[in-house]
């Protein structure tokens, strides 16, 4: 039987401006049998999206197919006329993009957009299509399938939009669906739900799929075969289990090594307790007018307390919108807080950076998330670093240049880079410069806000190594804000779990996954995909087994004092959790947990 997708010797070239044509995709061949799922794996710039889009007959402007053939479900994609291509797209093959949030038109209702592709191809009259859409919504486990179509994109969550986009792609009953990193922008707890639904639907409808991703654990859950791409060429192809467990190509091995949850912990963590360097006490940050209780109208960070010892590394983890970045901004003095206190070296810190002493500003440095916007694009990086050196230490001329070279060396970059502009550097290099900029101040504590989020796995792993080195060599303290539990576990001593602005748990990082935890911490820990076949099904089964107990929640006016995780909690106890605010409890492994810890999760460990 002929394969559903057959790509042979595909060559795609492109040019930038008036330059020469450069190869983007080189001699790529693969095939996918009917009903199978192929994963295209690679780092950014490896050409994986270009290959995936070429299956739809779409080539970015400025690029062209220079050779090879693409056959999808009997169509020779490269030989189609524009008209034939239009009729093939949507009907035979469809596409699910990475960011559902921006793929929907915010001004139109969901239903109009979901039925549109099918309507364009005049498959069925509108009424029947809408009925089909509702049944798809039901299959994709969307809430209120009957009426969700009347809502607008802004009213729905990222995970719901991603599933709606899949519904849109499935409307025309295509043979092939292309997924371009559909879960990368989602939180882990949402990702697992979306993945599980996707997998079920594929199997049910016998869809042939191509799944573009850089996340190997996702690959292990969802794909049958995988292709590893690097610089537009195939490095390795094979079944998923072969590539993930017996990779032959050195590059695949490097990818795997970087993705492997690996501990970078040293004995350092076991030294005697150090005095607290930074102490955060009951910090409240919010926006809007103060209410009668003295708290802001919209509370973003809610009574968060933790401390970071000298030379310690604290991880702050939570999903998007939980207040991680606001917390970082407040600590660095860019966002005034409404209540609470902050101490650095025992001295109280002012809420505004302008009111802090130069010493305090020097000792606390922020490394911001986005390496692209954190360096002034019109200044060579040497100048940027020199300015910081001069600002804090007053060094000039020769001495300043020497210090800049020292800093570049510290972050493992060549001093020759000093004359380059930020636009001439790679993402990883920029993030290193970003680090060097913070180090130039000779700080005691560095706040890292999602610094690895935008980087490829291999590059991110190198940045984590660098952090650990700096901690060891310079005795630096770090606050590492992230949504990546693996990264956090590999370098941090302690962890603070944030949910809806509250620190629901603060404790040692090494005990995650064992001992007694807040229900959200457990959910988070269980949702991080593992590179084990069958993990997805096993986890889903377990979740179903311990499904939310049927307790009627006190429906009237949810008290802001009550547990913030109440609505999603699987361990809640009716009459307790919905009536009494949770206490902060200490548990045996040294964590403090903001929960009643009902009998089902607590038992006898309570100390």
């Amino acid at each position: 039987m002929a394969a559903t997708i057959q790509v042979e010797n595909l060559e795609i070239v492109g040019r930038r401006g008036k330059g020469e044509e450069l190869p983007i995709v080189r001699n790529v061949s693969f095939s996918v049998q009917r009903g199978e799922m192929l994963a295209l794996i690679g780092e950014s710039g490896s050409g994986k999206t270009t290959v995936a889009l070429s299956l739809l007959g779409h080539i970015r402007s400025g690029c062209r197919i220079a050779g090879g053939t693409i056959r999808v479900a009997g169509y020779d994609v490269t030989a189609l006329t524009p008209h034939e291509r239009r009729s093939m797209r949507g009907r035979v093959i469809s596409y699910v993009a990475q960011n559902a949030g921006s793929a929907f038109n915010p001004a139109l209702s969901i239903m109009r957009q979901v039925v549109e592709p099918a309507l364009v191809h005049r498959i069925l009259p509108r009424r029947e299509l809408e009925a089909r859409a509702v049944s798809l919504f039901r299959v994709l486990a969307l809430p209120e399938p009957e009426t969700i179509g009347e809502r607008y994109p802004g009213e729905l969550s990222g995970g719901q939009l991603q599933r709606l986009m899949a519904a849109m792609a499935l409307m025309t009953d295509p043979e092939v669906v292309i997924f371009d990193e559909p879960t990368t922008a989602l939180d882990v707890t949402t990702q697992i739900e979306v993945l599980a639904v996707f997998k079920e639907v594929f199997a049910e409808r016998g869809i042939t799929g191509v799944y573009v991703t850089h996340d190997l654990s996702v690959v292990s859950q969802i794909a049958d075969h995988a292709v590893v791409l690097k610089d537009g060429a195939i490095r390795e192809t094979g079944t998923v289990s072969k590539i993930l467990f017996q990779p032959e190509d050195p590059y695949s091995q490097a990818l795997l090594a970087a993705a492997e949850p690996r501990s970078r912990q040293t004995d350092l963590a076991k030294r005697p307790a150090q005095p607290a360097l930074l102490d955060v006490r009951k910090l409240v940050v919010g926006y809007g007018q103060a209410t009668s209780a003295g708290l802001p109208e919209k509370v973003i960070v809610n009574h968060v307390s933790f401390s970071v010892p000298k030379g310690g590394m604290l991880g702050v983890i939570g999903e998007s919108g939980c207040g991680k970045s606001t917390l970082a901004r407040a600590i660095s003095g860019l966002q005034p807080w409404a209540a609470g206190e902050l101490f650095l070296n025992g001295a109280s810190l002012a809420g505004s950076v302008r009111e802090r002493t130069p010493e305090q500003r020097r000792h606390l440095q922020l490394v911001a998330q986005n390496a692209d916007s954190v360096l002034n694009p019109s200044k060579p990086i040497g100048k940027t670093l020199e300015r910081v050196v001069r600002f804090y230490s007053g060094l000039k001329g020769e001495a300043a240049t020497r210090r800049v070279n020292e800093l570049l060396d510290m972050v493992r970059l060549s001093p020759a880079l000093a004359s380059r502009l930020p636009s001439e550097l790679s993402g990883g290099q920029k993030q290193r410069i970003n680090f060097a900029r913070a180090l130039a101040a000779d700080p005691q504590i560095v706040l890292c806000d999602e610094i690895t989020a935008a980087l490829d796995t291999v590059v991110a792993a190198a940045i984590l190594d660098l952090m650990k080195e700096l901690q060891r060599d310079l005795g630096l303290s770090f606050i590492f804000i992230t949504h990546d539990l693996h990264a956090l576990q590999s370098i941090c001593d302690r962890v603070a779990v944030l949910y809806a602005g509250q620190a629901v748990e603060v404790g040692p990082a090494s005990t995650l996954g064992k001992g007694v935890h807040h229900p959200y911490t457990r959910l988070l820990h269980d949702s991080v995909p593992l590179m084990e076949p069958g993990w997805l099904e096993a986890t889903q089964r377990r979740r179903l087994a311990e499904a939310t107990p049927v307790t009627t929640l006190n429906p009237l006016s949810p008290d802001p004092e009550l547990c913030c995780f109440l609505a999603r909690c699987s361990d809640r106890v009716g009459g307790l959790c919905d009536r009494v605010p949770p206490p902060v409890l200490s548990v045996s492994q040294g964590s403090s947990v903001l929960c009643h810890l009902p009998a089902s999760i607590r038992p006898e460990f309570l100390s």
Binding site: L334, V353, S373, L375
Partner: protein, 268 residues
Amino acid sequence: MIVMFGKLRSKHDRAVLLIAFWILLALLGPLCSSHDPGAIGMQPVFSGPSMAHLLGTDYLGRDTLARLLNGIRHTVLLCFASTLFSCSVGTFLGIAAVTSRVWVEAVTGRLADGFLSIPSLLFALLVIAVFGTSTGALIMTMGIIYTPGAYRTSRALAQRIARLDFVTVARARGESTPYIILQEILPNMAGPMIADVGLRFIYSVLLLSNLSFLGIGVQPPEVDLGSMVRENMLGMAYGSPAMIVPVIVIAVLTVGINLALDSSSGKR
């Protein structure tokens, strides 16, 4: 000159050279003609080009070339001055609105909106009716008319840049506001701002030509490109260069400057 112009590699240099060319022409041009731009001689009116009068004569039999060079001087210098005024004041206010307290933005923003809602020609007529048509009044009028536009552009640019992380980081470091404006914000808005300058310059050339065409711009015996067109309207019937050449010069001046500044700002 033209050969050299084409050979220049950098678009940036080309823009600088083009501006230098026009300013030099404005300053030195009138010296290049031996005729007195105001002298009414025995020559016939609206004569065609000849060796004595390279571009012929105008409706009073004056030498067109001499008057054209004089007209360029007025148009270019007046418009450069007013553009300089509007763009520097506008940029200053725009950045001030972003970096100072909230009320500064509220006040300047409403003022700019108010000015923008007055038709520019009407505003110019009003000011000139009150203050008369001195050169200074013309420069100030045109400067004030185009300040709100420059303000809006620079405020929008500065707002976007001020939110970027490198400005946040500089503030967290405790840098002074002047440093942040001069070193972090200004260099990154220079490109689009230069393109905006080109646009404002064109607007002011066109506005000055309009005013002069209506007879309330540059007053005789002085002359600018707009008033030349008006004076020699009758010459249109004879195909006289005295009417056509100033029109072409206005077009070349505005389009050339705009293209040059546009491409130089895009290349940054």
